[in-house]
Amino acid sequence: MQRSKFIIGGLLILAAVVYLIASSTQASAEYFMTIEEVQTQKSEITGKSLRISGAVIGDTIEYDPDTLTITFEVAHVTGDNNEIEENGGLAQALHDAVIDPDRSRLVVNYTGPIPDLLKNEAQAIMTGQLAADGIFYADELLLKCPTKYEEALPEQIEE
């Protein structure tokens, strides 16, 4: 009698947790896509919550001081970490992406303070939606500069 009460109680908790996880996942999942995927699946993903990573092209950064609106372009970087490692690491991959004119690119629009790290060859990780005009409107912008703290040894050492 007591035992079954505890089992029912335990099952109820389990069900509640499963529900919480499932519904919250559903409500806040973001699809992580590369820029190439975005460009090829444009019509299906318009309006969906996306999370995109790409290499910032420094020359394209534009900033409107009155509205705090930033626009810039990002270039496609593969989402495969092993591939990045084999080709010399993230910093190299970002550099390759920016100098390659044939790479898929995406225009990003963001309103807000410019993060400290928004600069050429930074990795931008953005969440937001792709609008019908083909511009990605980011709600959130996160930047990483992989070279920042892990510079190579000073040059004299490599001689």
Binding site: Q2, K5, F6, G9, G10, I13, A16, V17, L20, I21, S23, S24, T25, A27, S28, A29, E30, Y31, F32, M33, R51, Y63, P65, D66, L68, G79, G89, G112, P113, I114, D116, T127, E140, K144, P146, K148, Y149, E150, E151, L153, P154, Q156, I157, E159
Partner: protein
Amino acid sequence: MLPNLGYGVLLLTFLVTLYSVVIAIVGHSKKSAAMIESARRAMLLTWPLLTISSAILIYLLVNEHYEVEYVWSVTNSTMPLYLKVTAWWGGQPGSLLFWGWLLSSFTSAVAIRKWDRDRDLLPWVLVVAGITLAFFLSLNVFFENPFKLIPGVAPLDGRGLNPLLRHPGMIIHPPAQYLGFVSFTIPFAFALSALITGRTDDRWIRLTRRWTLWAWLFLSLGLVLGMRWAYDVLGWGGYWGWDPVEIAALMPWLTGTAFLHSVMIQEKRGMLKHWNMILIILTYDLVLFGTFLTRSGVLSSVHAFAESEIGPMFFVFIGFTFITSIALVIYRWADLKSETEMKSMLSREALFLLNNLLFLSILVVSFWGVIFPLLSELFTGSKVTVGPPFYERATGPLWGGLMLLMGVAPLSAWGHSTIKTLGRAIWKPALVALLAPIFAFANGITNWIPLSGFTLVALVITVTINEFGRGALARSRKSDENFFVELWNLTKRNRRRYGGYIIHISMVLMGIGILGIELFQTETQRHISIGDTIELAGYTLHYDDLAQFPHEDGRYITRAEMTLVKDGEVIDQLTPRFDIYPGGQPMTIPGVRSTLVDDVYVILVNWEGISANSTPFKVYHNPLVKWVWIGGYVFILGILIAAWPEEEN
């Protein structure tokens, strides 16, 4: 010369540790007291050895020996002395050495006692702690040597510590976090020792009770200090972003907190023995996992160090310890049977069990958030992630459930409780607690989430104060002492219980702050010139002046002077600024006015085109956030009461 000596001592320590482990095992199987004594002494020897090695590293750091790669990578000549010393844990190899040194200190503190009553546990404690120590030392010895020299000509200056870490917080946040992490090794070692020797009563729990409390203190402190540091320096208006490193530090805290509660049931009722074993094993391996995440180059954040070879090593070691430990629990399964059965759903032990389940549920949610992207990619091919909204939504009700338990559980009885007995005990405090939502409602809060949140906060506070008051009142009626003297005596007589209650209060005080910032934060951003103003939440910020100048340590500082005005009265001067370090790394430091009611938090948004005519500001209004830090102080008080060593009788 000196670096070689440092490495030599490190290597020697590694060998001594291995010796201690092996000789303890052999000594145990041969029942040789002399060998076990030798193992104990070898373990004691690791502490002076690692202290020498660490002292050499600190000497090299302070004296700018840039021929050592580690010194070059984490210090430079402009850094103040305190940062040069704390650079000990500012990078990968040094922080691993620091881990090892702490573990050696703790293990030595355990081994220095003769353990007459618990002689049989000692060798296995040495073995488990020793294997952990040997693992960390092996990382230093074979992969991440802090004394490695740069070949060729020594550089003239170092690269310097990551600027984001150049902050007085560096003195206290990392050591607190490490202390918390490392010290959980000791209760784990005793738990395994109990499993191996078959002494599966609650002796190991009683022996490590205070250890666990101190470990938990430092783990909690590490989290709170990290939150504070992020709030003060990182300049994004918050303190917790559910990034994987934060979750990695939170996970052992969740299991550790559950463990702290459920051991009490084993002590009092002889129940939940399997459960306690599993909790301490999980805590230990989650500590390793947290260390692994920041050491392996899997993540890139303020906490992460270089890409490294040691990721797979951690993986193997976590797997090895976890599987071995669980196998031991299964081997002793029958010995760990409960002595009594749980009878009533509302009894104290049942509510403790519920508390455990809620902590574990939060753990599962957090873990799910971290691994969900991997699973989704594996099974559906599309990479999906979840962000802070997921964690907030999924853990919110669970935290609420924990708050409710903090209000109810202290009133329930061991063994048997009914709705009736519980209701009789709770209705008065609950009635008083209803004042909180009424007050909030009168102040314009109509959303049910904060209203129920504040009700729970008030319930915990009234119930807890009621518990203190009732006990002290009863005592002062019997004795002739006054109420406050008896309040003190009451706390002194059952420090774990009343210290625990104070910790409950501290948790809900933090809850006030978290509810405030999570639900009521507002922000605005504008681009203004000197003389202009920004308004937010009834405050006006006047932009008075802008100064840009180089600092002697090479930074270039841009600093705005602002006057904060409310209801026509000047109430504060704020100076948000950003510093650009040589090499281009900027750092945003907010100007903050903090009161019990709210914080005004203004940052100068870094942009190359900044000028006196057009300066971008972002302003946050963070209601009640100060209660997070107040809760932190109360927490320390509570845990000191609970964990302070008893007077010897």
